[in-house]
Subunit: 223 residues, 2 copies
DNA sequence: CCGTGCTTGTTCACTATTTCACAACGTGTG
DNA sequence: CACACGTTGTGAAATAGTGAACAAGCACGG
C-alpha cells in the first residue's frame, strides 16, 4: 500500500511537515506552477531546504537534479507516502455543534476522506438527518462499520463522554481514532489515536508571546 | 508576567505537553483528586514520568518530594507558566461556517480567552450579529483592536483569503495569529503564528496505520 | 559529444530532546 | 529525635532530529 518507506524509522515531525508541503504544493498547483526547487518550497513552508530533501528522501527520489520537483507528481507521491491516495471511510460519533459542523463540511473528500456514518447516544437525535446522514445509535456501530467498510472514527462528544465513545469504536473494530474531545482516552496498543485541540495552539501562542516579550524587556531595560 | 522560565530555552514539545497535563489535571480536579505523582500523571498522559518532572522543572519546583503534586496548585502553576492565568482578548476574522461555530462556542472563557470582535469583508455580512457580536469591516480593524485591547487574531477565512486577513491583523498591530485557514501565511519576524488543521492529524493517522500494517505483514508473511 | 550550471540526494557533525539513574529531601512512624 | 519510605529534581548518557556541505547527476548549449 504505502511504498515501504524504506523500512527506516520516520520522525513524527517529518509527517507533520509532509502535510504542510502538501498544502503549499496544492496552492502552487492551483496557480499552475509546474516545477519547484526545494529552496523555494522551503521558503514557502518556512523550513530548511535540506529538511525538505531529507523528508522526501525517506520515501523515494521524487526530484530531478538540476531542475527541482514536478509539482503534480510530488503531490501524488506525498499522498501515496501518507496513505491518502485513496478515499478513507469515516464514522463520526457525537452529533453536537462541532459534530454537525464537520458533517456539513465539504472539504473532506478533496483530502481523501468521506464521512459515511454518524452516531449519537441521545435518543432525541437518533433518526435525525444531518448533511444527508441519518444519526444512528452507537450500539449498532459494529454492524454499520462492517457493512460500510469504515476505517476511521472521529470523536466529537463532550470530554466526559469521550472514553465511552472510544470504547464503542474499539468494540466495532475501528483502528484509527481522531479525538476532538478535550480528554485523553485509553486504548489498547494496536489502536492509533490523534488528538485535535486548538487550545494547544492557543497556549503555544500565548507562551511564545510571553517569552518574546520577556526577552524584549531584557534587551531594553527601560524605565 | 510569566515567571521567567529561568531564561533557559524551552522545547516546543514541552509546551504541547503542558497543555496535555492541564487537560488531564482539570479532569482530575473535577474528580476532586488532590494530589498526584508524576508516575500516575504520566500514565494518564501517556508519557514518561521523568519527562513530566523535567517539563515542570523548566518553570519551577511545584511538587513535594515523597508526596507528589497538589492538583489545583499545579493547574494554577502551569497556567501561569503558559501565560493563561488571565483573559486574552481575541478577534476573529472570517465569519463563515467555521467562524460562526467558534463565535458560538462557549468554552473559550474557561480556558482564558474571550472573543470580543468579529470581522468579515463580505458587505452582506457586515452588520449581522453572531453570538452577540456585530460583524465589522476589516478596514476598521485597527481602531477596534486599540479600543478593545485585542491581542490575538483568529483567521477563519477560506485559504485564498488567509494572507489578506493576516495583513489586516498585522496592520492593526496584532502580534499573535491563530490560523485555521488551509494556507501558510507570510508574516514579519515579530509576529507569532500557529496553524490549526485537523487534516494534519488525519494524515498522521493514516500514515501510522499504513506503517503499522506494513510491519504486521512483515512479521506474518502469510499466504 | 563534452563541459557548464544548477539542484538533488546523502553524509556527517552538531544540536536538541528524551530517558535513566540517583542524590536530595519532605513525611510520617516508632 | 532518628529512621524508613516514597517521590521529586537533576546531572549525565543515550537517542533523535537538524543543518551545512558536497558528491552525484540531469539538462542545456556549443
Amino acid at each position: 500500500m504505502c511504498p515501504a518507506s524504506k523500512s527506516k524509522h520516520i520522525p513524527r515531525a517529518t509527517i507533520q511537515r509532509l502535510a504542510i508541503y502538501l498544502q503549499v504544493l496544492d496552492a502552487l498547483d492551483n496557480e499552475n506552477v509546474e516545477v519547484i526547487s526545494s529552496e523555494r518550497l522551503a521558503a514557502a513552508c518556512d523550513v530548511n531546504p535540506s529538511q525538505i530533501r531529507k523528508d522526501l528522501a525517506y520515501f523515494g527520489e521524487f526530484g530531478v537534479r538540476g531542475v527541482g520537483y514536478n509539482v503534480p507528481k510530488l503531490i501524488q507521491s506525498i499522498k501515496e507516502s501518507l496513505g491518502t491516495d485513496r478515499i478513507w471511510r469515516v464514522a463520526l460519533i457525537g452529533v453536537g455543534n462541532l459534530g454537525r459542523s464537520l458533517l456539513r463540511y465539504q472539504g473532506f473528500l478533496k483530502r481523501g476522506f468521506q464521512i459515511v456514518a454518524a452516531f449519537d447516544c441521545d435518543p432525541f437525535k437518533i433518526g435525525d438527518t444531518v448533511a444527508g446522514l441519518e444519526v444512528m445509535c452507537p450500539r449498532r456501530m459494529k454492524e454499520h462499520v462492517r457493512d460500510l467498510h469504515i476505517e476511521i472514527g472521529i470523536i466529537t462528544t463532550p470530554a466526559e463522554r469521550a472514553q465511552r465513545a472510544a470504547n464503542h469504536l474499539i468494540e466495532a473494530d475501528i483502528r484509527c481514532i481522531l479525538n476532538f474531545a478535550a480528554a485523553r482516552i485509553q486504548v489498547p496498543e494496536h489502536i492509533y489515536v490523534e488528538y485535535v485541540d486548538f487550545f494547544h495552539h492557543m497556549y503555544a501562542l500565548t507562551f511564545k508571546y510571553c517569552i518574546g516579550e520577556a526577552q524584549r524587556a531584557e534587551k531594553t531595560p527601560s524605565s
